[in-house]
């Protein structure tokens, strides 16, 4: 009984912290419509700042609290609102989500920059030495204070939102921003206040939790996963239910750690419990019905076959160039460009075309790698097929319960799956399900044999580089094929409006299942290939957090196009490692960049690939420039192969030649595309883009084969 009471109190005080963080989540969601993945990271930053002032500088407690909670946290909130979130109107849920993931990644990068990781930092328990006894059980001052703070926060927040005019206005602004301003409320101030309050709540949670856990940027930021489940129990709306959910969660964790036998297999279960609970809660709570049409300013044009083949050709060519010029160790580093590109590619049909959000790409990659590692003895290429099929089957299995989820709920569901995998399943020893023997990472790492096709082994980094670039090219073509097919149109239709698709009789279930399976399968193949490059794989290679930048940068590049996937691969595995070579400062910048890129997404929701392509537009339109490039680039490469110069000259030349071509072509024909002349306006757009003219009528008649004209245009 004593034991039970002790665990209950531990559970309640942990739950109280979850409650505070989760109510911050609910507050920002109900008052700004944005689910803030970075809530935990903001709490983390406040906790670090608090540590700095209170412990490192030894300032008085009250001052440190005041500065971190009432100055720093609200400032962060105001900054997030004005600099980041204002630009997100008319963007899709994917974009908003990715922006907050960007913030999460960026804040972790920032904290690791300011407070070097690896140093042990501790904050002593508050009110240590004070405690009182409850039927033989000690309740520490820290526990009591935590619970009290949570209760006060919950009550005052609830009253604030219900009873004060500002609280009502916060909810009104999410409902209808324009109408709120017509009522005379100042929406900008209201949402800034909402962000400030949300960040303060995050800060309170962060500071209360640091005496219990290590002060580590990643760990603290991800405590939020535990709070997600609580917020979902409150359906992102109800503060009382969120509070209750948080307490249940805290107690579940405490009982699991208290009563569960401490075998290695079950230790992971305890860590994964909140994620599993999140998944279960998502499956049982009622969610909103099919979504109707939402307007967005995001638009991805249909890719052409010719463009795609040129793209694929360039990818393979770059693979060959890199393979023939890089040293072995560089080929290992940069070989991952295309492998990560394949992982990013798996997101294009799922997120870009179908508008479904998945945060579990890397988990499927992990499954693919495991399949290839265990079944592809000797590098048997047939195992690659299994590395597609098995993750695809798991993907469909996960999608099945997730079918009823959409948007943010789907994202959280897949996050729950990914976290459960990397905190628990991936760390299990071998086990049997009936006759099937399943081995995973064997409590450490697993070897993956290099691919061996007809006796030709891809066992050197440069061979692998070529192989993986070909794989990326082939899969890109396949993805474009999907986009151009009738199935691809169905995916796009589903993205635009599930409700409309359902009324048209489109099979939503089948469409969602297959796209999930397809995406998981591509991830699996990518993971398998990545595995052959890594040689030895461990759960850390495929954890939830490492997967976030892949989604982030694909969206930044342009999630609706295969070019966006290459962008993600090149920036994550090409540009960031290069930056890190330049010195400590740049390594820190590299840690921050994905976050900054994600956060800037609101400015350009269609992705950078679009702009990059526009930048090359002059070359495409000016034939001599293409010919020039077709001669110069191979020439530069051949000279390098002949040993005339080294990579230090070669790569700058390689980068410079298209730049020169662009400048030259721009000078020749002018950079901006001419406004479409009358001839270029498609017939069905006549009279829309420009006023209707007599000549249009004649042209239209000619095109439609109408000879007798009986209608006249007004003078």
């Amino acid at each position: 009984m004593d034991k039970f009471l002790t665990f209950t109190i531990v559970g309640l005080s942990t739950g109280a912290i979850y409650a505070i963080i989760a109510s911050g989540l609910v507050l920002t969601y109900t008052t700004t419509g944005i689910f803030n993945f970075a809530q935990g990271a903001i709490g983390m930053l406040c906790a670090f700042a608090f540590w700095q002032m209170y412990i490192a500088w030894e300032w008085p407690l009250w001052l440190a609290l005041l500065l971190s909670l009432l100055v720093l946290a609200p400032l962060i909130g105001a900054f997030i609102d004005t600099a980041i979130m204002r630009g997100l109107e008319d963007t899709t849920e994917v974009t908003r989500l990715v922006v907050s993931i960007g913030l999460l990644v960026g804040l972790i990068g920032l904290a690791n920059w300011i407070w070097k990781p690896g140093v042990s930092r501790n904050v002593p328990a508050f009110f240590s030495g004070h405690y009182f006894s409850l039927a033989d059980t000690r309740v520490t001052g820290q526990q009591l204070a935590t619970i009290a703070v949570a209760v006060i926060v919950a009550l005052s927040l609830w009253l604030f939102l219900r009873l004060t005019r500002t609280g009502v206005a916060m909810r009104a602004v999410v409902d209808d921003r324009a109408l709120a301003s017509l009522n005379g409320a100042r929406p900008n101030r209201v949402s800034m206040l909402a962000w400030a309050m949300g960040c303060t709540l995050a800060g309170i949670g962060g500071i209360l939790i640091v005496p219990n856990v290590a002060l580590d940027a990643g760990t603290l930021s991800l405590l939020i996963v535990n709070a997600y489940a609580a917020a979902i129990i409150g359906r992102l709306r109800s503060l009382p239910l969120t509070f209750l959910g948080a307490l249940i969660l805290g107690c579940t964790e405490a009982y699991l750690s208290g009563y569960l036998k401490s075998t290695p297999n079950l230790a992971g279960l305890r860590l994964a419990a909140p994620a599993i609970l999140l998944f279960i809660v998502l499956l049982v709570i009622p969610t909103s019905r099919l979504r109707g049409r939402r307007q967005s300013r995001e638009f991805f044009p249909m890719p052409s076959w010719s463009g795609t083949f040129v793209f694929a050709g360039c990818v393979v060519f770059s693979g060959v160039v890199l393979a023939t010029t890089l040293s072995n160790s560089d080929a290992v580093t940069y070989g991952r460009i295309f492998a990560v590109g394949i992982l990013a590619l798996s997101l294009v049909p799922l997120v870009g075309f179908a508008g479904q959000i998945s945060l579990a790409t890397l988990s499927f990659a992990g499954i693919g790698a495991l399949v290839f590692g265990h079944l592809g003895a000797g590098g048997n290429p047939l195992a690659l097929v299994l590395a597609f099929v098995i993750p695809a089957a798991v993907g469909a299995l996960i999608a099945l319960p997730a079918l009823r989820l959409s948007g943010i709920y789907l994202a959280l569901g897949t996050a729950g799956f990914a976290v459960a995998l990397d905190r628990w399943i991936f760390n299990l020893a071998d086990f049997n399900i009936g006759p099937v023997h399943i081995s995973l990472f064997e409590l450490g790492s697993t070897e993956v044999a290099p691919l061996n096709i007809f006796g030709y082994s891809f066992n050197t980094p440069s061979r692998q580089m070529v192989l993986v670039s070909v794989a990326f090219a082939v899969l890109s073509i396949a993805v474009v094929g999907v986009r151009r097919s009738a199935y691809g149109r169905r995916l796009l239709a589903m993205k635009s409006s599930e409700a409309a698709c359902a009324t048209l009789g489109l099979n939503l279930v089948g469409t969602k299942l297959t796209v999930f399976a397809l995406s998981a399968g591509i991830s699996g193949v990518g993971g398998a290939i990545l595995g052959t490059q890594l040689r030895s794989i461990s759960p850390q290679n495929f954890d939830f957090v490492s997967g976030l930048p892949v989604l982030l940068l694909t969206v930044v590049g342009g999630i609706g196009a295969v070019g966006g996937a290459l962008f993600a691969g090149v920036s994550l595995m090409g540009i960031l490692p290069l930056l890190a070579l330049l010195g400590v400062f740049f390594a820190n910048v590299a840690g921050l960049l994905p976050g900054i890129a994600g956060v800037g997404l609101g400015r350009n929701p269609n992705g950078s690939i679009h702009d990059i392509r526009d930048g090359f537009e002059p070359i495409i339109r000016y034939r001599p420039a293409i010919i020039w490039l077709a001669i110069v680039i191979p020439a530069v490469w051949i000279l390098r192969l002949a040993g005339i110069y080294g990579n230090a000259v070669f790569f700058p030349l390689l980068v410079l030649s298209p730049v020169v071509a662009v400048i030259f072509a721009t000078l020749k024909i002018g950079g901006v595309e001419q406004t479409p002349t009358v001839e270029e306006i498609p017939l069905e757009w006549k009279g829309f883009i420009e006023p209707w003219k007599e000549s249009d009528l004649i042209e239209l008649d000619a095109a439609l084969g109408i000879n007798e004209v009986s209608i006249h245009v007004a003078p």
């Binding site: 324009a178 109408l179 017509l182 009522n183 005379g184 409320a185």
Partner: protein, 244 residues
């Protein structure tokens, strides 16, 4: 009755969505205490003009004058506090707030909640019965009453109404316009947009017809009545596109 002092004046307004221009040199004056009806077919640009008038949209050129002062670029919330009250197209209510919370939002105009409730519930007893219900779950007519309550209870100087009749039964529309007439008699200037002229022309002092982003005619309701059918059906020469 109306005086000749202009209270809200739109002159030479050009407005565009992205780069597509939808209003071309529009001039419209609402005198103090008068009711102006703006009529016109779908897509004529009526809503756009109202958005310009209440600050939700900035014109690309032209001036918006309110009580003699140029208010281009003033934020809508400031104009709302200064007495321009707009009930937008569709339902001008917050669906996820209760009726009472919707009324509370109206207090930003400076009128205390007790007074707003007194006027709103006095005029629409149905709202009092449902004060705890979420506005989004009420019937279309009830929602429109709630939206109108802002116009009634917050003492605006100018009331701007966009298609009060949208989706409502004729009898409710008549009721609403009866209220509009009463508000007008209390001295509030009103600018009202309607598709169906009959309901509004009885109340209006002046009317203007907008077609393709231009005011093509304006005058007293009596003067315009004969031309209305013309504006809606379009004449052979103006709308050739429709017949292809």
């Amino acid at each position: 009755m109306s005086t000749q002092t202009p209270l809200l004046e739109l002159s030479g307004i050009h407005a565009a969505y992205d780069r597509i221009e939808v209003l071309f040199d529009v001039n419209l004056v609402v005198n103090e205490g008068s009711v102006v009806a703006l009529l016109g077919p779908n897509g004529a640009g009526k809503t756009t003009l109202l958005k310009v008038a209440c600050g939700l949209m900035s014109p690309i050129s032209g001036d918006v004058l309110y009580a003699g002062k140029r208010v281009n670029g003033t934020r809508p919330e400031e104009l709302a506090r200064r007495g321009i009250s707009m009930v937008p197209e569709g339902r001008g209510v917050f669906p996820n707030l209760s009726v009472r919370e919707n009324l509370k939002m109206m207090t930003y105009t400076g009128v205390p909640l007790s007074q707003i409730e007194e006027i709103a519930f006095g005029r629409f007893p149905r709202l009092a019965e449902r004060s705890r219900q979420l506005a989004g779950t009420m019937s279309g007519g009830e929602q429109q009453m709630l939206a109108m309550a802002r116009g009634l209870a917050t003492n605006p100087a100018v009331l701007i109404l966009d298609e009060l009749s949208m989706g409502l039964a004729p009898i409710i529309v008549e009721e609403l316009y009866e209220i509009v007439a009463q508000v007008a008699r209390s001295g509030v200037s009103i600018l009202v947009v309607e598709q169906f002229a009959s309901s509004v022309l009885g109340v209006a002092d002046r009317a203007a017809i907008m077609v393709h982003g231009r005011i093509v005619r304006d005058g007293t309701p009596a003067e315009l009545e004969s031309e209305l059918s013309h504006a809606y059906l379009g004449n052979q020469q103006e709308s050739s596109g429709g017949e292809l």
